[in-house]
Amino acid sequence: MLNRNILSRTRVEVIFVQLQQKKMRDEEKSKEQLLKELIDLRRTVVTNDTEHRLREEYSKVKENEQKYYNLFQSSNDAIFIQDLNGRILDVNQKLLSLFGYDRSEMIAASMSDLVSATEESKYRSALESLVSDGATIFEIDLRRKNGEPFPAEVSASMFAVNGEKVVQGIVRNISERKRAEEEFRKYRKHLEAFVAQRTDQLESANKELESFAYSVSHDLRAPLRAMEGFANALLEDYAEKLDETGKDYARRVVSAAQHMDILIQDLLAYSRLSRSALKPNEVSLDSVLGEVMHQLSSDIQKIDAQIRVERPLPEVMGDHATLVQVLSNLLSNAIKFVEPGVKPKVNIRAEVVNNRVRLWVEDAGIGIAPEYHDRIFRIFERLQGMETYPGTGVGLAIVKKGLERMGGKAGVESVPGEGSKFWVELRMRGL
């Protein structure tokens, strides 16, 4: 049996709670409306309910309320509710542990307790923009009970309770993020400094290399001129005083000096290719070849070489001076590597494959065994003795490096005894 007193108290409470919820839900309703609803509600209660139903509803409401409050309290986010004057109305557990206050201290705290002194105006302007926009997110330095500051991100929204506007805010400690950002900034600065330093080093290394190349061209060649020149003078001015062996020695001095000079020039050309930046532009292979033929004209005449060019040759994207070096090396090889006594025959032609131009330099010379096709493009790699075929072994290295620098390729097809077909490939003009 139920006590009537309890029952009536329960009824009133239910009505009150329901009313509260209504109020929360619909804050704009006027007091008259609320009064009307109160009357309606009471009528319903008085006329319809049974004891059983009332008990059920009461516990349900209690349960609901508890559920939401628990959610608020146990939320992983630190949440506060405050009025527009900055007075705190309610906070959850997480917020308390974030600031290090207990509940009553927190409710009593003023804004200057919680916000770093320098940040107060920032907080005020955030509240202002909250009033005009309804919601805002801002970063601010907050302060714990022990005075320790921490960076936070506050996302605040505004709503009304009983016609009065309140602020609900979620506070996130962003120390970790700030630290990561700071770390990142430091790292980037470090990286920038590192890159700058490396660039400096490379630049000075480049300068050093340049001055090295300079002194090579100047200083190393001077004694060579002397060797060659005076050995020559011996041969001419003292010819009667030298026997054949003496003359042979003097001739060897001359030819060794000449060889070393060519070697130095080739190495200089090679190192220049490695360090100078090439900007590819439109180059006519016809004009490149014209220049090369002119350069080699005395050699070509001397050995009576036959050179056929299938004109017109196309235009390619490349660097004129580099292409002259490349073709001059290919052509001088083509007329050099023939059986002794054989007149060199060379054919030069171009084909276009997939917007790329392949220029072929084909000879009928001694040919190259397939196992050496890669190797000969490396610097100083030669397949014959200096006596039969003089050279430095730098020519094809220049060809390869030059093509690399122009974004092209080079290669060879050859069978020993059946001549060699060297090719270089470049982008077609205008592509």
Binding site: Y214, S217, H218, R221, G229, F230, N232, Q258
Partner: protein
């Protein structure tokens, strides 16, 4: 001051090169006298007619090395091109360097020609032959008053 002279001024510090160049001139049978100076400072003093070169004959051609003691060939050239009429003197750079920076700078400063010393003596003789034909025989000279 002798103005209409046939001398050639060779500014060259390498004694081997001086010998070889003189020998090449002999081979080509060039009769013009060769005056040799071994550094850039001397070259400027000579051309300016300062002590000890007050009585110097003005050359008809300067053969100028670039890498010289005291003052570089570039500096000599720069100075020369700032002189009153002396600046008309033809200067042929004769050097070991084939670096484009050296070549460009020489022309910027007013060189008339730029030759790279060849290593082989035969090539040097060929070069001197052409030099003789062009600069000493064909080329017309400007009037040069005393600088």
């Amino acid at each position: 001051m002798v103005t209409n002279n046939h001398a050639i001024l060779l500014v060259e510090d390498d004694h081997n090169d001086v010998l070889l160049i003189k020998r090449a001139f002999q081979k080509v049978k060039i009769a013009n006298p060769i005056i040799v100076l071994n550094d850039g400072e001397q070259a400027i003093s000579y051309l300016a007619g300062r002590e000890p070169f007050v009585e110097r004959p003005l050359p008809m051609l300067v053969l100028l090395d670039l890498k010289l003691p005291r003052k570089s060939g570039h500096e000599v050239l720069e100075w020369l091109r700032q002189q009153q009429t002396l600046k008309r003197l033809p200067v042929v750079v004769l050097t070991a360097s084939s670096e484009s920076s050296d070549i460009n700078r020489a022309y910027d400063l007013g060189a008339n020609s730029y030759l790279v010393k060849p290593v082989t003596f035969d090539a040097l003789v060929e070069m001197v032959k052409t030099l003789n034909l062009y600069w000493l025989i064909l080329n017309r000279r400007a009037e040069i008053a005393n600088g």
